[in-house]
Subunit: 132 residues, 2 copies
Amino acid sequence: MNISDVASSTGLPVKTIRYYEDIGLIAPARSANGYRQFSDSDLHKLAFIGRARSLGFGIDACRDLLRLYNDQKRASADVKKLAKSHLGEIDRKIAELGQMRATLSHLIDACAGNDRPDCPILADLAADHDHA
Amino acid sequence: MNISDVASSTGLPVKTIRYYEDIGLIAPARSANGYRQFSDSDLHKLAFIGRARSLGFGIDACRDLLRLYNDQKRASADVKKLAKSHLGEIDRKIAELGQMRATLSHLIDACAGNDRPDCPILADLAADHDHA
DNA sequence: TCTTGACCTTCCAGTAACTGGAGGCCTTAT
DNA sequence: ATAAGGCCTCCAGTTACTGGAAGGTCAAGA
């Protein structure tokens, strides 16, 4: 299988697949002309990584997940721990964004949005929020 | 005012303040020895930027907000438009993270988390989610 | 056979917004 | 005089790609 076939069957961009080889996530064989030749195993790995990335796991976490996946003697506790830690990160981000959302949405509601210069949004940004 | 004073009163790291000068957000004066000399206006600008950043606005949006802030003839509609667009971005991110959270949390609940290798999390990652 | 177009390759640079560190001058206090 | 600490610049690294240039390869049609 050539790279563009792999791209269309995994949904990953060609560039991304090359990048994943670069950083050592996969190591596809090469044919005589220098083209990458992807095995089913490469394909599965890439699909696995793509799925993990879509759940927000970082590249290093993907590496760990792949290692655990290939380890027949793994303990599911290790996987769960990794996933829980990632869930914590997600929750932290959601909380942060939720906080931003609340403040911003409040300010937007307070803003007339007309051709006058008075603006509660700018007023808030300029106000003293005290970091001292 | 020297840079570390500004850092402690704005809550921004010294490195970040230098960076903001680098990219043209501020242009503090220099004293004879080459040290940056921050005016009250510089200080206010930095506080403004810091606040905008804490609401998740990107650097370019900060530049726009600062420009609007300094424009006495601005229309609040322009500020509101910018803020609304940013709110949309935030909502998009929250939705994406919420989706991840839901899936991941479901998988975590299904995982025994013991010393056995069976793991619904890995099973899901390895499963065919069909991008073809 | 030649050419054209779609592949494939590598390498370099850029993205967002900093952050860390090296090497070195300036200031202040002992 | 010296040591500590603040300031300076410049370079490199971070995350996870993405775009583009320059060039080799392959299959099909005229």
